[in-house]
Symmetry: C2
Subunit: 446 residues, 2 copies
């Protein structure tokens, strides 16, 4: 035992890590998401965790103050000024990547990216400072067909489904409807009003009306705006409801037609999975058409209903990389907030623990003299694709079995204890034990 001073470590707030049996589940989730993304032809890219600060600031916006900059612990003089920082999302790095490698990419460029991002937020429930996001984006030169606005939500939905989590709904709107409507109401500064309306879920209708009044919006206009963001339909019915509000503009008409197209083209998803929700506002400075937010579907019969927070989202942007390249690159992208989703379900005890080790078979070591034989068994089983541990010492069999039990290893293999004795395998789940040969044995199907 060391006699040096001991600093008992504790978790750093906002930087999650999981025990092996839960990391196994997270890894399985990532494999499943990747499989769905690839099944639609998205290629993977990975960008460094680090970008030049200038590149990260090119888009501006709220996130700026949360950026973590890097400095070397013992920086030389003149080297003190941070030039590099951790990315806070995967969209800015992708924009920089597309601009930088423009000539080497094939368009429409369909990429997925599953990486961590970092934000120096004040820690609070459901917010992480380091978190995984799983992004898909399609980017094209000059124009991008609207069909992608309908394809990507289907991909996203399939990915959620693959995880075996409670039902998810995709709430979709189109910024053109909102902006057209607000302009039609004669509101001069749409930014303030939309930001206020965006708070509806959090603060409720009364507080929103009060804020709008303070912002100088007449009561009848405020009421109309509120009616607008309350429109939610499972089909294209939203269009009639919007039109019945008595405001119209070309932009609004275009937005309605785009949203109808998207909703209609998602008709193959299960009933209730897609909602046209004009209350979805999101990323004001960024999106220009389709906007989407994924949430757990409301289940009023649930004992402990899922919270109404976003577990994914995204939308359409007209010009991805204008700050990096003289090319108009419209795109549409969606993102799964993996850590947020996983952490939420962990907190609620809804992630069933996976295995503590990937080991399928523990090979017992009967005595040191039989190590070569035991190692041979292990190697034969591995060659068949099984995950195998050889117990490290010829301890009492009881102790070797206890190790398998504690690690949740489903099979224990007994090599010969005497020359010529047949091998046996014990199924740790049902206790059955039977003779077996390494070359031919197969575990029962899970």
């Amino acid at each position: 035992m060391s006699d040096q001073k001991v600093h008992k470590p504790k978790a750093v707030s906002g930087f999650p890590e999981w025990l092996p049996e839960y990391r196994a589940v997270e890894l399985e989730w990532m494999d499943k998401i990747r499989k769905v993304f690839e099944s639609y032809g998205f290629c993977n890219i990975e960008t460094p965790a680090v970008e030049e600060i200038d590149a990260l600031l090119a888009k501006g916006g709220e996130t700026e103050k949360e950026i973590y900059t890097l400095t070397r612990l013992h920086a030389e003089e003149g080297d003190k000024e941070a030039r590099l920082a951790l990315h806070f999302d995967l969209t800015v790095p992708m924009a920089r990547y597309v601009a930088q490698h423009f000539g080497d990419l094939t368009f429409p460029f369909k990429r997925y990216q599953m990486q961590k991002s970092w934000r120096g937020e004040r820690p609070q429930k459901g917010r992480y400072r380091e978190f995984y996001q799983c992004d898909i984006d399609v980017v094209n030169i000059d124009e991008l067909p609207l069909h992608f606005d309908a394809e990507l939500p289907a991909v996203l939905f399939e990915a959620y489904q693959a995880l075996g989590i409670p039902p998810v709904e995709l709430r979709i709107s189109n910024r053109k409807i909102l902006m057209g409507y607000i302009a039609g109401l004669g509101i001069s500064d749409p930014g303030i009003v939309t930001r206020t309306l965006d708070k509806l879920d959090k603060i409720g209708a009364e507080a929103v009306l009060k804020m709008l009044a303070e912002q100088g919006i007449a009561a009848d206009i405020a009421q109309k705006a509120l009616s607008f963001v309350n429109i939610k339909t499972f089909d294209s019915g939203f269009a009639e409801q919007v039109q019945s509000l008595g405001v119209s503009s070309d932009l609004m008409t275009q937005g309605i037609s785009e949203l109808k197209f998207v909703i209609d083209n998602l008709g193959h998803l299960p009933k209730g999975a897609v909602v046209a929700d004009l209350g979805i506002i999101r990323g004001l400075d960024y999106y220009t058409g389709t906007v989407l937010e994924a949430r757990f579907a409301e289940d009023k019969t649930a004992a402990k209903p899922m919270p109404p927070m976003a577990i994914g989202g995204g939308g359409r942007y007209d010009d991805l990389a204008g700050s990096f390249i003289h090319q108009k690159l419209p795109g549409v992208g969606l993102s799964i907030g993996l850590t947020r989703l996983f952490g939420l379900l962990m907190d609620r005890g809804q992630i069933p623990a996976g295995r503590k080790a990937p080991t399928d078979v523990l090979v017992v070591l009967p005595e040191e003299a039989r190590r070569a034989e035991a190692a041979q068994v292990a190697q034969t089983l591995r060659a068949k694709g099984l995950n195998v541990e050889l117990f490290h010492s010829d301890s009492k069999i009881k102790r070797q079995l206890a190790y398998a039990e504690k690690k949740g290893i489903p099979y224990v293999w007994f090599p010969s204890f005497k020359d010529g004795q047949p091998h046996e395998v014990k199924n740790m789940l049902n206790g059955e034990q039977a003779a077996a040969e390494a070359a031919t044995w197969q575990p029962a199907k899970a």
Copy 2:
């Protein structure tokens, strides 16, 4: 096109990223390494990129000055002092993890970890500031059987083999032999001498002898030390050579016996894969027994020989987490320098490009009116596990084929152009085209 100012982005030195067709290979490598690690029962963990600076400094050492600390871009006053930093390897985070979750882990704890680390090094060829490492470690309480010192190199070797790279050799020594020998020579400060000897590969014998002389080592002793680090044998023959140098000590005898054990127990690896190399010194402040370095095997017939640099390594340590917990936790760990290895082979043009997209089949869109039918084909093929893109617009067939060609998509599917017409599939590699049904078609085996 945007009229804002454009900052054409360029790569940040030391932070590599790859085009999709090479990232596909890197991802495939990571899958293969993971499969080998899991086949020996190692579980995966992932720790945050970020640790408290105090935790990173607990081990001390050379790396300290390369640590990147984090500061929020707009930190509040009093929040300026950096408390967090990026990890520079995966061993310190694992030590902290094991100490923190001690009660929840099963020992011997066998974990693998495949993550990026960061070091603010001066950029130079073969050195990266952000790089992947793939680590396996076994950690136990109080004692760890020597068998793991022989098992881990076998796992490492299998992982390299899985990558299909030029032959790798594992150079193995044991710090006890070196330290015992140096003590036996009567050298009082072994640290300086071993650090000098460690430079042999880089600066050559003459320069080493000169440095040793400057350090006050007598010429005959220096020559002996040099003879020692030049001992290299493919079997246990090293033992006799060491003993013939006429120095002995208990520590040395113990080290020889341990190294013999390890070399003998790796006898099943291909001839030449394992070298007892007493010139392997590594991580002076850290390792206490077995030390290992993986390099490409020398091939004197090669037109462009592989450089003699380390592409992996590790060893045995007596006390992993003494600065974090009052438990003696001996371990043995090895690491593949993935980015270093991948980057080296990239630079040499030895990474064959993978596919630009994972897409197996591009489904042609004959005309907009047939989109539902084409989408149905795509979904049927996906349900069979294929990766499928539906072309986004009913462009000329020639253009749709050109897209498949450019992305390297191996099959193009033609749905009916008229009602009742059979579907056809074109093999883009050999140009063959034949009628096919989505429900039953399978691609040719690769």
